[in-house]
């Protein structure tokens, strides 16, 4: 904002002089006056072009601006006749004001030095005018430059500080909003977990307390065993004591699986699952695992299966990966199948392979006669 304003100011300062050669005829000034004018104008365009793009005027660029100003102030002013050097016909006066103002705003602790150098260069360049009647103009122009720079320095500093404070306030607001959103999400997840516990473990405990299982010790035992497994899954699924959504979903799926009559034992282990899996991925992996357990119950002729889920990073890192990916397997030790003899059923194809692939993951179903079936699913972000 401030850089842009300064750029317009500088442009106007250069434009001020354009009418002079037209009015007086170009022959009146030596060629170095024109050459320096063009070069200085081009430099200013570059200087502000970069400044606007980078949203800042950096110390090296500011230094260059001041040094060049010194150069053309001396060269150009000395090219004028002594009597005209300090007058308004000398084009360097407005741009020197601009340089001084820019330096006063952006040069920080060196702003007084920079302004002093610019004003000094003006005096040095136009010093021959002291021997002419325009001596007054020489000092009034120098005073004007210093005054402009002083006012601009104070105003600019205030403006920049206000802008910075506004930025910081905006950052704080965004940060607060983000924290608020995270807290809301955490609350939602906690509520979700409480609901899960209520629907499962609490429900069973209250049932036992009310005597619902008094005549059904076997029923009580199996319910308790399911709920214990569910709790174990919740506990090991997450990090920092917060169960991961995938762990909660898989635990709940295993607990409520319709084939638990057949599938008495589902050995479930999870390790530090990623907490921020997309909901679609959690749903696909849980659904595919449910279908895999269906298949075990229907075809494997066994009452036991293994379900594991763990964080997985880069391929083959062996240990707990930090890449945000996940691996889920469903394994049984039942009758297995001969991949060559039996093509994949619709259930496997559609409900496991396609479902996981649609969510961006990979799934394979392998096996051999007498060696059970192995369903492996991986998803990486």
């Amino acid at each position: 904002m401030v850089v842009r304003a300064l750029a317009w100011l500088r442009a106007a300062q250069f434009a001020l002089w354009l009418w002079l050669p037209v009015l007086d005829g170009p022959g009146r000034y030596p060629p170095q006056v024109f050459v320096c004018y063009v070069l200085a104008a081009l430099w200013s365009a570059l200087f502000f072009g970069v400044g606007i793009r980078q949203h800042a005027l950096t110390p090296p660029w500011l230094t260059a601006d001041v040094v060049l100003a010194v150069a053309y102030a001396v060269v150009v002013s000395r090219s004028y006749p002594a009597v005209a050097a300090a007058s308004i016909t000398n084009w360097v006066i407005p741009p020197l004001c601009g340089v001084a103002v820019t330096a006063a705003i952006y040069a920080g602790r060196l702003r007084a030095v920079a302004v002093g150098v610019v004003v000094g260069a003006w005096l040095l360049g136009a010093w021959p005018a002291t021997r002419t009647p325009s001596v007054q103009e020489l000092f009034s122009n120098a005073a004007m430059m210093a005054l402009f720079a002083g006012v601009a320095g104070v105003t600019g500093t205030l403006l920049l500080r206000a802008a910075r404070e506004a930025d910081e306030a905006a950052d704080r607001a965004v940060d607060a909003e983000r924290k608020e959103a995270a807290a809301t999400a955490r609350d939602a997840e906690r509520d979700h977990q409480f609901t899960q516990l209520h629907d499962t473990v609490l429900h069973t405990l209250e049932g036992i307390a009310r005597g619902r299982f008094d005549n059904d010790p076997e029923g009580a035992r199996s319910r308790c065993s399911l709920d214990a497994e569910f709790l174990r899954g919740l506990i090991t699924s997450g990090t920092d004591g917060v169960p991961a959504e995938l762990g909660a979903a898989l635990s709940r799926m295993v607990r409520d699986h319709p084939d638990r009559e057949t599938l008495k034992r589902v050995n479930t282990v999870f390790d530090r699952l990623p907490p921020d899996l997309p909901p679609g991925v959690v749903e696909a992996l849980t659904g595919a695992a449910r279908e895999a357990l269906n298949n075990v119950a229907k075809h494997a002729r066994t009452d036991e299966a293994w379900l594991t889920a763990s964080a997985e990073g880069a391929e083959g890192d062996g240990g707990a990966g930090g890449g945000g990916g996940v691996r889920v397997t469903v394994v049984d030790r039942g009758v297995g199948f001969d991949p060559a003899a039996r093509p994949m059923g619709l259930g496997v194809n559609h409900s496991i392979l396609k479902r996981v692939a649609d969510a961006g993951g990979r799934a394979t179903v392998t096996g051999a006669p007498g060696e059970g079936t192995i369903v492996e699913m991986t998803w990486t972000p």
Binding site: R232, V269, V331, T366
Partner: protein, 233 residues
């Protein structure tokens, strides 16, 4: 069962069935012990030789070295890894059983020389299999044990070969040794020898640990970044 109750004194000289495999049990959960006693009675080939609520009580009765199940988190606040080390030091084969899976303790007790690891999920058939395997002279690595060892990412973990890690993970996912052998194009006996080598590497770490307190430090260090249920609240 607050003291060592010699259901049979010692491991040998069993009653009735002409011996069988005698096992000891250290646990302060009465319900679990009663269930286990009843179940062992029904197996035919196993026998509950001695029980105790703490490791000190168990060792004070000076039973012959044999197979012992140990609840990892006893309520007397004793250090789980030191318990395992004490029993192993007295020549016992320790089967660690836990209510809650706790990787830091599973890896540390493996280093301390525990023979096998199981979750207390009332799967007593799995316990019987482990006892029989130990009795045969095998060193069984249960799927759960393999799973947690395969998830070991402590900086101080033993260096496993890629093949060993692969096999450990496959066992942890519930695959049969035959299946793993077929998938990797190696024999079942090779799968077993890889597992033995993994266990030997863990035991080697344990042999370098001379003082039980070092185990505690290891567990604490490894566990700093991990939220864990307090075993003795």
């Amino acid at each position: 069962m607050d003291s060592v109750t010699g259901m049979d004194s010692g491991i040998s000289g069993g009653s009735g069935s002409g011996g069988g495999i005698g096992i000891g049990a250290i646990d302060d959960d009465q319900m679990f012990m009663q269930g286990m006693a009843a179940w062992i009675g029904g197996t035919g080939d196993l026998r509950l030789a001695a029980t105790a609520a703490t490791v000190e009580e168990y060792l004070a009765a000076a039973p012959e070295p044999g197979i012992v199940t140990l609840d990892l988190h006893l309520h007397n606040g004793s250090d789980p890894v030191a318990n395992v080390a004490a029993l192993v030091g007295a020549g016992h084969q320790v089967i660690v059983v836990t209510v809650v899976r706790d990787q830091a303790y599973i890896t540390a007790t493996t280093e301390a020389g525990a023979a096998a690891y199981l979750t207390k999920n009332n799967n007593l058939d799995a316990l019987a299999e482990v006892v029989r395997a130990l009795h045969r002279g095998d060193l069984p690595t249960t799927p759960e044990h393999a799973f947690w060892l395969s998830r070991d990412d402590r900086p101080t973990r033993p260096r496993l070969s890629p093949r060993e890690s692969e096999i450990l993970r496959a066992v942890g996912e519930g695959m049969l040794h035959e299946t793993i052998g077929r998938r990797l194009g190696i024999g079942t006996s090779t799968v077993r020898s890889h597992l033995k080598s993994v266990r030997a590497k863990y035991a080697a770490v344990g042999r370098d640990i001379k003082h039980p307190a070092h185990y505690r430090d290891r567990v604490r260090e490894d566990d700093l970044s991990r939220e864990r249920l307090d075993p003795n609240p």
